[in-house]
Amino acid sequence: MTKNIDIKVEYLTRVEGHGNIVVNVKEGKLELCHLEIIESPRFFEGILRGRSIFEAQHITSRICGICACAHSLVSLQAAEDTLGVVPSEQTTKLRKLLLHMENLDSHVLHIYVLVAPDALGVKSFVPLIDTHEKVVRRALRLKKTYNDVCDILVGRHVHPISCVIGGFTKLPREKDLDMMEKMLNDTRPDIDATIELLSAIKLPEFERDTEFVGLVSDADEYPMLIGDAGSTDGVRKNKKDYRAITNEFVVPHSTAKHSKLSRSSYAVGALARFNLNHSKLTPNAKKAAEFLGLKPKCINPYMNTIAQAVETVHSLDDSLALLHDIRNKGINYDEEIVVGLNEHGRIPVKAGKGVGAVEAPRGILFHNYEIDDEGKIVHANCVIPTCQNVNNIEEDMKKLVPELLPDKSEEEMTLLLEMLVRAYDPCISCSTHNLDVKFVNR
């Protein structure tokens, strides 16, 4: 084969942030295959230095507009680990509910606005108003509901206010529990319709075996907020050893660090969670997986969107179960915390270190803080899911491009590469570090 390809996608749409895909094939040989992350670093770790650890969740939630709750929750976990605070059972349940709302909100947005246009053969979400108005309205209804429940729980649609170290400054009242339960129950038909919609979508058939990383636990629940960091290659480490999981390294073409574990790269996110913990999904979610043809271990990265759909069923089921449980036990309002930065010394402060690990919609997310005796942060490290995925996406591209070379046009290859990157639902702004496709020769 003597084909030459020069593909350069300068502005890849329907991903968050900016990055380039550069593919260079000369006389049929793949010479360059990069996912260049070109966004400027955002220095959140630097911003945290010198600030009170009691401020950290409010600052770090601003890393992202869609996984703000995951950043808040992992920040609180890391801070509580640092301070030796153990959250109550009630607090943990409400936090799990909050994380489910974000998972639902984020997955719905990705499925409908970012992936559906490819599957339905249009360039963006907007033309779907004319051809699939019901689908557009369903997406809006779902997103609005999950945002509104988030607002009830933590005082805002994004960037939570009321979840703080040790608990919540405002706990939901009886009427709030009623309202949330009704709102969530009302989304069931739309979630069912989402599964139906995806069952009619044909995703590209491509496979590459890789290592999948996410939270693992001995408990019965599908771990989103608890557990160790583990992999499908059998690795399992306490979250405090997260650096031995992420093994970050720098590459010249990206402002995002790359990661690897047992192999040359690893993947995080909904597909990783499914591959690691599918047996712990709710029965409805398992049925949805079976209906959609998703089976472990799935090594087709395009199926990450399907795994997200399965997780929407799980998150809805588990949210309703959590609400039911919270209602049955009754809310203990004595746990409400007075707003502030621990001015009254309710929580003892001493120098220490701590780590948090939470499953954000896009994958496992780590925060690590070190504080001095006054509770000021002297060191911080945040490892974002998209950073961990970038290296794996590049490895996928390196296998995918040669497979496409014989039959696909440059235009078709570009679309499939863009769809591949979108399947990971990357948040390039968060990663500080990614998309734009450049092909050079085949």
């Binding site: 507009g65 963006s124 108003i129 108005e133 809006l140 997103k143 649609h157």
Partner: protein, 155 residues
């Protein structure tokens, strides 16, 4: 500094019998805060128009917009159309790019199209040419002047 408000902009803001003004934007990003600035300083006290500040979540306003029963909608936002800083122009929905600055929210044209369908009325964008979108920057002098002139029209 001369006014950059054209007659069609002034007419759209003052003559509509039942007008809903929707402001969007982020007041942490320089002139992107012009929408929130107008919302903060505009009071629909005479009852002859409606105001909704959609902030950074325009997808959440469909129901409340429809509830106003307004017969015309103008969405006010900072824009970059190559005009003079502070220049205000009216655009139809089709003129607004489908991509947004963030994929974290629904595209604004989608919200506007659905609003037209639900409310049975025209929805237009009033774009105010920004001078800066820098983080932490205040409104530029030119954009603030235009905003204040718009406020005076409905003051």
């Amino acid at each position: 500094m001369l006014s950059l408000l054209t007659d069609d902009v002034i007419g759209a803001i003052t003559r509509s019998p039942s007008l809903l003004l929707i402001t969007v934007g982020n007041d942490l990003r320089g002139d992107d805060g012009v929408g929130p600035y107008i919302a903060e300083n505009l009071s629909p006290s005479r009852g002859d128009f409606f105001l909704i500040d959609a902030g950074g979540q325009p997808e959440s306003i469909l129901d409340s917009a429809e509830a106003t029963g307004a017969r015309e909608v103008i969405i006010i936002d900072a824009a970059d159309f190559g005009g003079l800083p502070g220049e205000a122009r009216l655009f139809g929905i089709d003129a607004i790019p489908e991509t947004t600055m963030s994929t974290h929210i629904f595209p604004l044209p989608v919200i506007a199209r659905l609003m037209e369908k639900d409310m049975g009325c025209r929805v237009r964008f009033l774009g105010i040419q920004a001078a800066t979108f820098a983080f932490g920057a205040p409104l530029s002098e030119a954009v603030k002047k235009t905003a204040d002139e718009l406020l005076a029209l409905r003051g």
